[in-house]
Symmetry: C2
Subunit: 339 residues, 2 copies
């Protein structure tokens, strides 16, 4: 690994010593270990053993529990191959400094904190699980540990503040292209920031920014993708509207390959956008415009406004054709589709 | 004063005890005090006394120095009448929580720090002097102590990020209207953020913002106005291009009255903009558009682009008519006038 590449692994501080011992015992046993034996070995109640097992499952450990036989470790949580990733990205700007968390509240919040402490452009914060993951408009974003890609990239573009929102378009285009290249699945983008496969959401972008009117200080682009999530692992409320690459493709997708490709794709799009403007990113977005010609409503201050989506303009605004052929521009707003 | 109004005065921590003693000695003397006498009384060299006097002058104390006679305090730095201001603003949202600094690096930097610590909307940071005052594009902003208005207001609007830049227009309109009301001088606004009287700059706005694409977390609006600055107090480099209200009007302007009026004007414009959009602020801006019909150059990534300024559009972008009647929109950029 190049000496200028830095990968810092950060184990969750919520992973107590006891939980590690529970895993150690399970790892050492080829078969089942009874709750009683573990309780005796650890000097804690059987109920406490059960609680530890439950919490480990939430962290991506697949632990089988069978009454009268006990527990068995079937699968450890997946990890990204950081060596593979940095081999591919070490010559680029976005693949040199990684912070890879077992679990974190939010990769965006961590990247923002790093930004305010002077971290360089291209710093990447990854997490296998987020305890307070967020999507747009303060919505929750959940993903089972080790099954998705959850990461944030710190950017320091020389752009005025009112170009910053265009980086959502840049990131969405880069993510869509990377998914198509690695998983071979066509991806659409639902304005402004959702990644769709068919009629289901498979990922999204959450951009945060700080700076002056004339120049952005930093932008944090958070990207969340359901990669190998199983149907049964989706929150019940999302099972009709969400999907994952694996669910569509029928086989798992290499998360490390996807992340490396996405970082390279993001860097290419980003540098082009800052140097030459947003035309290339917009063209990629328009090729994948999920809403185009669909009947939609946009939530605004004045209430919902309905019409037919007719593309995005060169400022990234959504164009909607109203009933009397009048076209209205939306610079922000939540969009719902008519059934 | 209403119990819900808070005014915190913060004396500069750069005001050493020795300097206070120098002032105390000068205050106690109706006439001149010799440097020798002060040097003896303070137990420091005459050169050190001279340095303290020089530094105090930079803080707004007018100290006469006459060889063989010594020093005489002629005028103490002006202070804002916070009682008067809060009497007028206490029923509004922007006039309830003040931090009033003798000297600070930058009121915007302090307001940003307060914003990140959860300070409420309407918090006002004022300074009599700034040691690292900034204007747009990282430029310095200097003002002699006690002669200008230098303050920042913390806003927490429910606006998407790509509306945030419109608050510069809102603030410029509010400031121009307040100056006209109190000083009776017509003010023009040079896109996007400068306050002009005649062909000279008398003030400016510096907006900083942080948040997500869909919702701003906070906006800090910094306003700097040359109020009672004398020609001789302007930095030499700015004497041909800058002015002050006093220089134009020929008599001093009450800074406290101006600040109170400006805060009320800003609040009215701001609330209207968040509730109803930017039409009213834009109308006020357009009535005072300094560049309109002037021959200008806009500095862009591709180099300077020249044409005739033809107003601002409903997104606050500058419209420029190019030689072949084509109109180009600028969302950012530095504008210079052709001679």
């Amino acid at each position: 690994m190049d000496s200028s590449v830095s990968v810092i692994y950060i184990e969750s501080n919520r992973m107590s010593k006891r939980k590690k011992t529970v895993i150690d015992i399970l790892r050492d046993s080829p078969g089942f270990v009874s709750g009683e034996a573990m309780s005796a070995q650890l000097g804690i109640s059987r109920n406490a053993v059960h609680k530890h097992v439950k919490s480990l499952r939430g962290r991506g450990y697949r632990i089988l529990g069978v009454s009268r036989r006990g527990y068995k470790l079937e699968e450890e949580p997946c990890r990204l191959s950081m060596g593979f990733i940095t081999d591919r990205t070490e010559k680029s700007a976005f693949g040199r400094s990684f912070r890879y968390y077992d679990e974190i509240e939010s990769t965006n919040a961590e990247a923002k904190a790093l930004a305010n402490c002077g971290a360089p452009e291209g710093t990447v914060v990854i997490a296998e699980a987020q305890s307070a993951g967020r999507g747009r408009l303060g919505r929750r974003w959940t993903s089972p540990a080790g099954k998705g890609l959850l990461f944030s990239v710190l950017l320091r573009p020389r752009l005025p503040m009112n170009d910053a929102h265009m980086l959502t378009i840049v990131a969405a285009a880069a993510a869509a292209e990377a998914i198509e290249a690695i998983a071979g699945i066509p991806v659409h983008i639902k304005w402004p920031n959702d990644l769709f496969i068919g009629d289901r959401k498979a990922g999204g972008i959450l951009m945060e920014v700080s700076g002056e009117q004339d120049e952005v200080e930093w932008v944090v682009v958070g990207i969340g993708i359901n990669v190998n999530t199983e149907y049964s692992e989706l929150p019940v409320a999302l099972r009709r509207t969400a999907t994952s690459l694996k669910m569509v493709k029928g086989e798992p997708v290499d998360r490390s390959e996807l992340l490396a490709t996405l970082l390279l794709s993001l860097e290419t799009h980003y540098k082009d956008a800052v140097a030459n403007g947003f035309e290339r990113a917009l063209a990629s977005f328009r090729n994948r415009d999920y809403l185009l010609h669909k009947s939609i409503s946009v939530e605004t201050r004045e209430g919902p406004i309905s019409g037919s989506a007719s593309g995005v303009d060169d400022r990234g605004a959504l164009l909607v054709e109203l009933p009397h052929r009048q076209v209205r521009r939306f610079h922000s707003g939540d969009v719902t589709l008519h059934p």
